[in-house]
Symmetry: C2
């Protein structure tokens, strides 16, 4: 990328824009509520993430505009000889900025953070309906070795 | 189950038995090191898990013997209107106790904990090589809607 993409922890002021991006998505539009004011549940979740040293809500900004978001969770496990893992979730880029490599840069940033935190593995799950996303992650080096299983409560 | 299966948080004294179970597994045997004394990395991970209010290492015990283990991670996300999720990892039951429903009881316990913690979703990934595990989780109500993608660092 020629222009300077900056990665930083999200602040409360970014929350509106983050939810806007999450809702501007085929699957996200059915499950988010981008309203003004935002439903309080978003702020509550933001505060829980911000208070947790093992969770990082990261935004990508381009010329001071937030154009991407992702959450990285670092988890210690007994498995793999007590290895830490990084899990990436909620990756979105601004629909007006697609094709500029922002998604790739976001994931590369997450991989870098995972290395800095001493993780032996980076993982994510992607909805099987998102065929483009599957190819995108494969090109970045992820392998779909696992089934991602979900149960709604 | 007729006999009484008890679920509790693991203590440091359970660690040896937990690693023994993790290593007694086709995939686990290639990546764990069940030695005496245990590699220090296991204790370090145990302490990190024990210190984290969003991680629970749970053992199942039957007549005071540890016969099963799993880790449950509770994570706040902005997605799904700021919803919490529970992630299950490292599920193992004692090879001498299989077929007694201990695995089912473990997962049902995790689902109960997820509800108590206000999660809207329980999730896990299972290696595509473990065909029996896939069927097991499907029978419990999990749906393989996602690809589970991993990248070793």
């Amino acid at each position: 990328m020629d222009t300077e993409l900056i990665f930083r922890l999200a602040t409360e002021h970014d929350l509106d824009r983050i939810v806007e991006m999450l809702a501007d998505d085929e699957l996200g539009s059915t499950r988010e509520r981008y309203e003004k004011p935002l439903p309080e549940s978003y702020l509550k979740a933001f505060k829980a993430i911000a208070a947790d040293a093992n969770n990082e809500l990261v935004v990508a900004s381009l010329e001071k505009e937030v154009v991407g978001v992702q959450q990285i969770t670092f988890t210690p496990y007994i498995t793999h000889q007590g290895g830490w893992r990084a899990t990436i979730e909620g990756v979105r880029t601004s629909s007006s900025e697609r094709g500029k490599g922002i998604g790739t840069a976001l994931i590369q940033f997450a991989i870098q953070r995972a290395k800095e935190r001493g993780c032996h593995l980076v993982q994510l799950t992607t909805d099987k309906k998102r065929e483009d996303a599957l190819r995108f992650y494969e090109q970045l080096g992820f392998i779909a070795t696992h089934e991602g299983m979900k149960m709604k409560l």
